[in-house]
């Protein structure tokens, strides 16, 4: 990956090596444990309908395998630490935030408007300042894609304030 620090000069922050492997392992284990808990809530099939194993057995085995392997990579990381990743820049968080904007707008207002807003946010914060290009990226191109999908594939997009105008 390009955004990996050179290992030289990172010795002073050696504790950070443990940090990312610990956090990643902890997140995987916690999420897997929550899912493992849910497997105990799956319905149990009576023996007569049971095909080989219960429906919960296979996901349980997978989750236990994931937890076991995650513990293994964590213990290996104590001997052979992971490389430190660079701090994520603001542009990453803005892009992530634009996803939230897209979800909110497309759910409550309009799908097309959601795409247009995301496009303009991403394009602007990634450095585009020319209004013409911002309009092309956020309105003209999504409109072409929208019409293309609608006509070629006969797709019906979810209702919304702009989409309803298009569908009349």
């Amino acid at each position: 990956m390009n955004n990996v620090h050179n290992e030289k000069g990172t010795n002073k922050s050696l504790s950070l090596f443990f940090k990312s492997s610990f956090i990643v392992s902890a997140v995987i284990i916690v999420l897997s444990s929550i899912l493992l808990y849910f497997t105990f809530t799956f319905d149990i099939v009576p023996p007569i309908l049971n095909r080989g194993i219960q429906p919960a057995t296979f996901p349980k085995a997978l989750l236990i395998l994931i937890i076991g392997l995650t513990l293994l990579i964590y213990f290996i990381s104590l001997k052979k630490p992971w490389k430190i990743e660079k701090k994520l820049p603001n542009s990453f968080y803005i892009t992530l935030l634009s996803f939230v904007v897209f979800i909110t707008v497309s759910k409550f207002l309009d799908f097309f408007l959601g795409i247009a807003l995301l496009s303009i946010i991403v394009s602007y914060f990634w450095g585009e300042r020319r209004v013409t290009y911002l309009i092309i990226v956020s309105i003209i191109f999504p409109l072409i894609v929208f019409i293309f999908f609608e006509t070629i594939l006969g797709l019906r997009f979810p209702p919304g304030i702009i989409t309803n105008l298009y569908y009349g």
């Binding site: 490389k83 992530l96 799908f111 990634w126 894609v145």
Partner: protein, 492 residues
Amino acid sequence: MENLGLIFAPLFSYKLLIVLFFGTIFGLILGVLPGLGPTTGGALILPFTMTLDPLSAIVLLTAIYCAGTYGGAITAILINTPGTPAAAATCLDGYPLAQKGEAGRALGMATVSSVIGGIASVVVLIFFAPLLANLAYEFGQPEYFALAIFGLTMLASIGEGSPIKNLIAGAFGILISTVGKDFMTSIDRFTFGINELTEGIGFIPVVVGLFAISEMLTQSTLINQIFNRVALKAVKLPSIDDYKKTWKTIIRSSGIGSFIGVLPAEGGTVASLIGYAEAKRWSKKSEDFGKGSIEGIAGAEAANNAATGGAMVPTLALGIPGSATTAVILTGLIIHGVRPGPDLFREQPEFLYGIFGSMLIANILFFVLGFFGAKIFARITLIPNKLLWPMIFAVSVCGTYSLNQSIIDVWLMLLFGVIGFFMRRYGFSVVPVIIGLILGELVEGTLRQSLVIFDGNWLMFLQRPIALTFFVLSLIALSFPLLKRKKKNDKV
């Protein structure tokens, strides 16, 4: 072998030739653009293939696969950034040679060796896939289970990065496949009361999320990156002297690529790294590697394109994808109602040989288009990311929504995009997730059916010779990285 004549059938179908032409152009564009590539492109174009007949749809996807794998070399040589992961090894010598003012020579060698590797692998596909399909007639549920396990362990052992992380990613992929109604008992699993999840999580939201959206997030961290572009006057055919230097390397890498491609893993990426390393090992001028060696370019490019045909072997013969892109092709087959496996060879030979023939033609087409159009395709990289990625997002969202007309699929795509970004950031490959997702139903289904056959006795697996062979191979595959590490430590 009596069906070999069917290979030439696509040549006589203007419709297939048009599909091949556009598939090759689209594949080259996808290959040239860093961060995209045949896997993402294939997934995005899947909804459009619904307007085509099954053969045209698969021909389109395979043309994208072949041309996209080659297209990565153009960016690797001209801007030192691999257009596709499979072109990473091409950067090592392609860019230094281009910096010496020989970009045309570097691209010429990349084009010729890619075509030779690609055609060699299609020949392997034509002869090996029917043999493997015949062998698969002997397979029952336990054998398929053992084969799927072998596929997953191979993914861990020869994939890129940490084998344990690859295994975790593969298990995660299988876990995703368990979401929805259990196909044997109709009991809900991980649906959390969401109706849309009872049908399970589709392949497209996962693959578009893990590849396209996660790449968009990665690009958001690199917006200040500056590329040094080398000017290209024209692509030059390799000289007689270049052929003399590289013919052995091209043949060797074609063999390596075809073999690696057959194994379920990151086909082209691993093949090109091994092809490059072997080219260096056997070269009389190994000291030139990394400084613009023409053999280095030939070794990497012949191998990554040779992996394309190889990866199609298990995909068509067994229904087990040999790479992430062939997982997309496999999904395309299933969407169009074509079930890969031995029966396909017996019942629809014209369909299969149509694919073989189309792959051969695609290789010739990208040779012509690459040779005369590399300069134009290279200009596509001039589209700035700040304009390109919002557009890709619009296509990704509409493409993902279109298959099931489900907004939940779009949310899932974004979720997998974020998961994919963090997976890649912390050294987990996303390819095993895709393969795991595809193999998940096969693994669980064959395991449960086998246990029904064996009356719950797990030890019965060991009484099936073919299954036992695959289990032993799986153990060898799992211990291979440990042995490799031990050997490395012993050397130190």
